[in-house]
Subunit: 167 residues, 2 copies
């Protein structure tokens, strides 16, 4: 596998049979670094979401049975969007958590993330979001999530390259 | 609607399009009583599961962002089975939580419960369990869950009738 085969733009796929979104993205990082980038609130707040937004962590307890809440703030308009969920499982090889956008309080996704060592210092992140309806999934796919996902991961690439995620 | 129309045996249905199990059950109780029966650990431990098992609460924090864990003990064999999850949302009209049987640690369901007032002192509980595969759902349906569900709700009927759930 050459560097050009790396998924440095996220592959975002709608499962054909389940109301599930599958995101696959490669990083020049170890699994431990990606785990830290998703569980350490200081690091997470520096990369998650689109470039036009800042993230404020309102609550963060990244352990099995813990929970999280954060607010994103549009730097141009100062509009705020809040999200919350719980950590069903926090394992070095697997994160399972719930996710709700507070503007759509009855919508919930069950998100699972695993990390696959590709060798040569690269790791592939496999992320799935399971919803309880195909309509809900369509709404999520049409919400502009692609911009947030890709801009967020570009910020994470830069943090990894700059040494901000640790070894 | 007459008493004979009440679902005093749980209707357990497999959704045709989603890997989801839908359970519907009527109780001679208020929504507030059913909410308490599912969120108060002392009450919950007295009715959940089949009659052959006792339940020990290992952890219980029934609030949005809290979590839970319990162990069932077979009175005949003393075998123990543990389960855990987190409370994504605890609202008087809606409970959303995750559920894992620790013997199958990578299996997770997202469970949602709502309560519908039927009048005349009856309330209908609507419960759904969403899994991430049809195979996982089949395994859950074939695990003997029907016995545990129905025997558990019969115990809850008795607690409600005996006044143990409060008003």
């Amino acid at each position: 596998m050459t560097t050009t085969d790396r998924l440095t733009t996220a592959a975002i796929e709608a499962d054909p049979e389940l109301p599930l979104i599958r995101i696959t993205r490669d990083f020049r990082a170890s699994a431990a670094q990606l785990f830290r980038a998703h569980t350490n609130p200081e690091i997470y707040s520096r990369w998650c979401g689109p470039k036009s937004l800042d993230t404020r962590i309102d609550h963060w307890d990244a352990r099995t049975g813990g929970s999280w809440a954060f607010t994103t703030i549009d730097r141009a308009t100062e509009e705020e969007y809040s999200f919350h969920g719980c950590f069903h499982e926090v394992r070095e090889d697997r994160l399972v958590q719930t996710f709700t956008f507070d503007g759509w309080p009855d919508g919930v996704s069950l998100d699972t993330m695993t990390f696959e060592d590709l060798g040569d210092g690269w790791t592939r992140m496999h992320s799935t979001s399971l919803l309880d309806s195909f309509e809900g999934r369509a709404a999520m796919l049409e919400s502009g999530m692609e911009v947030g996902v890709n801009e967020g991961y570009e910020k994470l690439d830069a943090l990894l390259e700059g040494g901000s995620v640790g070894g």
